[in-house]
Subunit: 243 residues, 2 copies
Amino acid sequence: MIPPDHPRYRSLLVRERLAWFADQGVVSPEGLAAHGRGEAFDYLLGERTTGSALLAERTAAAMLLAARHPVISVNGNTAALAAREIHDLQRATRAVVEVNLFHRSPERIQKVTRLLEGHGVDVLDGDEERLIPVSHDREWSHRDGAAAADAILVPLEDGDRAEALVSMGKKVIAIDLNPLSRTARAATLTIVDEVTRAIPEITRAAGDLTAGECEKLISRVDNSYFLHAALDEIARRLSHALD
Amino acid sequence: MIPPDHPRYRSLLVRERLAWFADQGVVSPEGLAAHGRGEAFDYLLGERTTGSALLAERTAAAMLLAARHPVISVNGNTAALAAREIHDLQRATRAVVEVNLFHRSPERIQKVTRLLEGHGVDVLDGDEERLIPVSHDREWSHRDGAAAADAILVPLEDGDRAEALVSMGKKVIAIDLNPLSRTARAATLTIVDEVTRAIPEITRAAGDLTAGECEKLISRVDNSYFLHAALDEIARRLSHALD
């Protein structure tokens, strides 16, 4: 349907993939729109991992390795785009993986869980309770999931829940292409990068870092630096965009 | 499902509306993602009509009024978001309205057509031919539609087709929130504004402009100015975004 000579072929293919997962009930329709928002920011960043994003990814690895109870919170889009990458990161960090959906239904939770398990991810199951103080369905967590985390990786997070998790005293690591989003501002550390590029870099760093390097990276976490670096990169690219 | 106290309530409601139209088969899943891209740029522009966009809207009205055979090309997203606004613009400019879909099927064409007709739009029907030189389904046009236009308004256009229409010698008026898109660069005139804000402004200007004002606006069309003005606005807002 999409001709290979179309200049935005790759981006359109990823959209088709998400559209297929939407058809399967893994991705919500609103998740497709959220993906498009991310596409726009990725486009402005040059669709590559910047130097500051790579540093954020190494810092994220250090925070997950140093945590007592690291958790990875996965939604529909993340599962559709990066189930295999989540598996590799879980192996490298021994993190608990929990499914958490904005547009929640028992069927969607089951579908996202099955997709992850199909890629070898060990997904937390059992009863959930309303443990996160937000006014929508993302309040649900297992006792051993987000509620118990000291460090939590939230790819593609909602701003409300990011703020709630921070207010609970957790170290929140966001992956968000929009450096101005509430999630990006609220998080302890924001990785401004595309999720399928970001997660493998965290995994790679988790296999590389020494204990001393981890300590140094953690002692220097400065979210404001990472947000400004991303904005500067966008502004720099915009100023040359029509040359 | 979305709580009214959510800070992005309005944006999420519009997404829900599009998701509903996707469920009805009017909007394609890829259209939802494309909407998200637009949302991100609108956010960067402050979700309002800038001064330069308003000038572009008045210029678009002048071009449609001066045309011998003005056409408005409507896709699924435009119909879902702005069917009533298209009706008003058609009345003000006596333009031909034609449905043209990237993800084309006879059923979707019928659904989009019915939605427009339900809002009083007079939609071109009858046989279509492969009249626009692009390598995908947007090549189809009626003899009296895009193929015959001297000026054509293309809200939310694909870059390929925008370039093809320009290469056919037509005056192409794009509505595109991304000032760097191929559509925005290829068009004769680009309105960098959200479609439900842009179309009523074109309609209003079409009712206001004198023949002398139209002539003056048309003589000064400079697409590069409008693209630079939008980029400058984004850069200006980014530089203060984290203050």
